[in-house]
Assembly symmetry: C2
């Protein structure tokens, strides 16, 4: 099966969640999935669920346990670059059909690695591998290279009402 | 935990997939999930995965095995209304934390049931239940009532290149 490059970006809810749904669907069809989570490093409920789900989904986190709001530290960059190296190996191993680079867009935005690094990865993709890239602020060059791009647009958000992130729903 | 009403709409990819991701996350956190699929009635890979995943996710389909393109038949309406009735019972049972009404927006668009029927359900929601409604063409009155609304906007789609839906990726 030919693989493509999908991008989920925008400020709205549902980018990582859609990627998780894709992982679930792919595993249901017997495909092997690798999820690389950049920037985020927290233990989400979904990771627990994914790990319980099946041996066909591998999740690795390449963040330091917190979101980056301002200037990233050297350690953040080191983690992210190590992650990208792992993804290269995974991609070329021939073992995985679907590779999800969660929050990779925001990683390039914070210059944890460069847009060129991510473009190189896309260009090195074997034909039968599907790549999914999530995160707000996708670089225009990534959008240009992608086959499918969806913008999650926030129309209305209950955070505006002061609702905090809830376990099992947002995390 | 207080529950809200979330809507995922728009022409882009990722609406149902995001709902599946939410189901996965919620189940990872020990919450019980009911997924009612309207309009669609096909056996998707994700259903297989969800059924393997856990007893805490129940999936019921209230469609007739095909998409509706033009005028719905009486049988389509009957199925959808039966589904809505089931959802009422499930919602009031106190057994479920997260209820997903997949493609309910398009069901109102095709008048399988009315927008008022869906609004009634929202107004009858117990405080601790979270409702997620997906499907393109969400009625403005539904958006008005929802707490969180995300529009999946299609920026680029490989269907334009003639790619067919692929098992494990699109279905």
């Amino acid at each position: 099966m030919k693989g493509y490059v999908q991008v989920y970006t925008g400020d709205g809810k549902g980018k990582t969640t859609a990627a998780l749904g894709l992982a679930l669907r792919a595993s249901g069809a017997g495909l092997k999935v690798y999820i690389a989570q950049f920037v985020k490093g927290m233990e989400y409920s979904e990771l627990k669920a994914l790990r319980n789900l099946s041996d066909s989904i591998v999740v690795k986190q390449y963040g330091r346990g917190c979101f980056i709001y301002k200037t990233p530290k050297e350690e953040d960059k080191r983690c992210a670059r190590e992650g990208l190296k792992d993804v290269w190996n995974v991609m070329l191993s021939g073992q995985y059909h679907l590779i999800i680079l969660d929050e990779a867009n925001i990683a390039t935005h914070f210059k944890l690695f460069s847009v060129e690094d991510l473009l190189d990865l896309i260009h090195g993709k074997p034909e039968n591998v599907e790549i999914v890239i999530t995160g707000r602020r996708a670089d225009p060059r990534i959008i240009e290279e992608a086959d499918l791009v969806t913008e999650m647009k926030e129309i209305k958000h209950y955070y505006q009402k002061g609702v905090q992130a809830r376990e099992g729903i947002e995390r």
